[in-house]
Amino acid sequence: MAEASRARRAVLYAVSALGGALIASVLLAPGPPLRAHPARTEVRFWHMWTAEWKTVVDRIVTRFNESQDEYEVVALSVPASSADSKFLLAVVGGDPPDVMAEWNPVIPTWAESGMLTPLSELMSADEAAAFEREAYPAAKKIGQYRGKLYGLAVGINLWAAYYRTDALTDAGLDPAHFPSSLEELVRWGAKLDQFDAQGNLTRIGFLPSSLPQYAPLFGGGFYDWQKGVLTLDTEPNRRALSFLVENRKRLGLDRVMRFDSSQNAGSGIEWPFMTGAYAITVDGQWRVEQLARYAPELHYGVAAIPPPQGGKLNAGWTSGNFMVVPRGAKQARGAWQFMKFWSGLVEPERAAELYTWGGWLPSFPAVANAPAFQNYLQKYPQFRKFVELMPSENWDAAAPVPYQIYLADREGAADQLAARGVLEPSAALAALQRQVEEEIARRRKLGFND
């Protein structure tokens, strides 16, 4: 009896000790860092960058906080998977951040719902004029909706052709004379394809994919930026999609699909170009720094994707990181100061250094021409090609329509259905046109404008 009582007491002590330790660990756990400048006005900044990127963003925030004594930007990294819904709920709940960095196609939908502050309300007349005059075309396309600017780009993404010089040389191709037409590039690709004894692909020379990327090269695209109308089932788009599908068929739809599925999605060191699975591929400017970090010995070059005969030069798809100010932001003015600081709309020479930290393409030529950025280009000469492509008007961005996400989803589906051989390219685009028209009709029935 006494033994049982002792045992019970021992268990009780053990449980109490554990509980005490748990409470102590909660109480003593390091809390969020205290503000460095509590006397200043707090500007709450949400973003989705993590790991090494978060470190860069934190450095930029620190640099801004050191640059003036009125505001303190406090950054919060929000998981990308739930960032948009968290933002929505914060706006609805009346407690949004003051500024948020985004890269998803959200501006039209959010602006249409009245969730975003037009930046014209925050910009001075001089700033608005400077943006209109100075900003690269891509930066303007990314942030606008119904003629108003809602997002200020702080890093543009462009795509270009990366080629492995060793692979080209081995195949008897001269890297110094990269093809000037898409047709010739395809011929190069065919010489670079490699197969095993069973006929499986072991290396793809060049395989074009993604309709949004190639349609502008054929003179197409999904939106007429001058007229402000969608252009889905058009002759240039049909030619572009047929070109993509024909190239897959040349290698074999099933064979390409199997080869692709054995490749990692391609972040960092597992990027198929870096591993040698692709000899020529199309990718974004951020790969330059990754190649320098993870494959410094790799010899490669970067060139603009050449257009087809009669197509458009320096064309393709663009997207980017941009900052938005939600309606109801308590410190919209402070948010604007931070956005200006980062984007380089003011003091571009100072902003240039920030872009080099992240390996981002700036929105303004003055930033690109600043000494800090030019030093960066000396260090990463392949990056220069992307900067040279920036002034082109031929970059197509997501169409600024209020059902932008729906449209992007349907475009992706049309692309995929054609690539898998389920639908002929013309049928896939006709289906896309029909679906979008149905969606517009559905929205009108529910009382939306378009």
Partner: protein, 292 residues
């Protein structure tokens, strides 16, 4: 009388009040509000705008809705019975009192407690057409395996495979049901000269039907709400013809396109469907479920 009953129930109600409050605020409340929202145009941010029956009318002509409904019904019709058959078969095997049976039961139960997301990620690799385990094994016997998650019919088959993989959860309930069957019934059947198959057909299965019925109803409801695996595969570039289930489309409309009114209407149609099918199952049970 009522006051006395309430007074008697009060301590109990107080004890469960946190749950009652949570249920009212987070389940019953939104449930009722969604009825109203289904008659509105609502994007979360702006106030809901009354559109009458327009959401339901538009839904009736929405081809994506009909395709996703068709896929959901097909999945329910295939996955729910297969899950029952696999669960019963597995429980019959694991009902044998052999050495180490506890270990076997644990092994078969384990997949059902692995988070769905983790299981799906593993399956994406296992079913990879080039470097996946399944096609590797098939290659070993000279068969070129299919592109599991790239072709609609094989993607659908993969989803069924994943459903069977997690059948260990229901297996436990079948095992409990089997243990509940009185031994004397088997003894009587043996004396009457019933074979093993006859004992299964005329003793085991009839007495297991309450558990089968329960699992079938739960399985059908879960199939109608099928979401996680399909949504993950859709985001992994699996064909949308085999992954855009009704719940996935509903989620897209609600949270991707901010069309809460339309999504609410869809949710109520889904609820109606589940209610009808479940009612039919309940009506049918008189004919095939034996409660001892």
């Amino acid at each position: 009388m009522l006051v006395r009953a309430l007074r008697k129930a009060l301590p109990g109600l107080l004890f469960i009040s946190p749950w009652l409050f949570g249920f009212a605020a987070f389940t019953a409340g939104p449930f009722l509000v969604s009825v109203y929202l289904s008659f509105t145009r609502y994007d979360i941010v702006s106030a809901p705008r009354w559109v009458g029956l327009e959401n339901y009318a538009v839904l009736a002509t929405d081809p994506v809705f009909w395709r996703s409904l068709e896929l959901t019904l097909l999945y329910t019709a295939v996955a729910a019975p297969i899950a029952v058959i696999a669960g019963v078969a597995l429980s019959l095997l694991l009902n044998f009192e052999v050495r180490g049976i506890g270990v076997y039961r644990t092994i078969f139960f384990l997949p059902s407690i692995v988070p769905t997301v983790a299981t799906t990620v593993v399956f994406v690799w296992v079913l990879n057409p080039q470097i996946g385990l399944v096609n590797g094994l098939l290659r070993g016997i000279g068969v070129v395996g299919p592109a599991w998650l790239k072709e609609p019919k094989w993607t659908f088959a993969s989803l069924i495979l994943m459903a069977v993989w997690g059948v260990g959860g229901t297996m436990v309930t079948y095992l409990a049901g089997l243990k509940d069957i009185p031994v004397y019934l088997y003894e009587a059947a043996l004396i009457d000269g019933a074979s093993a198959l006859q004992r299964l057909r005329f003793v085991t299965l009839p007495l297991l039907t309450p558990v089968i019925f329960f699992n079938l109803v739960m399985g059908v409801i879960a199939s109608f709400q099928y979401f996680t695996q399909a949504y993950m595969l859709l985001n992994q570039q699996a064909p949308e013809e085999a992954t855009r289930f009704l719940a996935v489309y509903l989620f897209e409309r609600a949270w991707r396109y901010l069309d809460m009114g339309y999504a609410s209407a869809m949710a109520w149609v889904l609820f109606g469907l589940v209610a009808v099918v479940t009612s039919l199952l309940f009506l049918s049970q008189k004919k095939w479920v034996h409660y001892g």
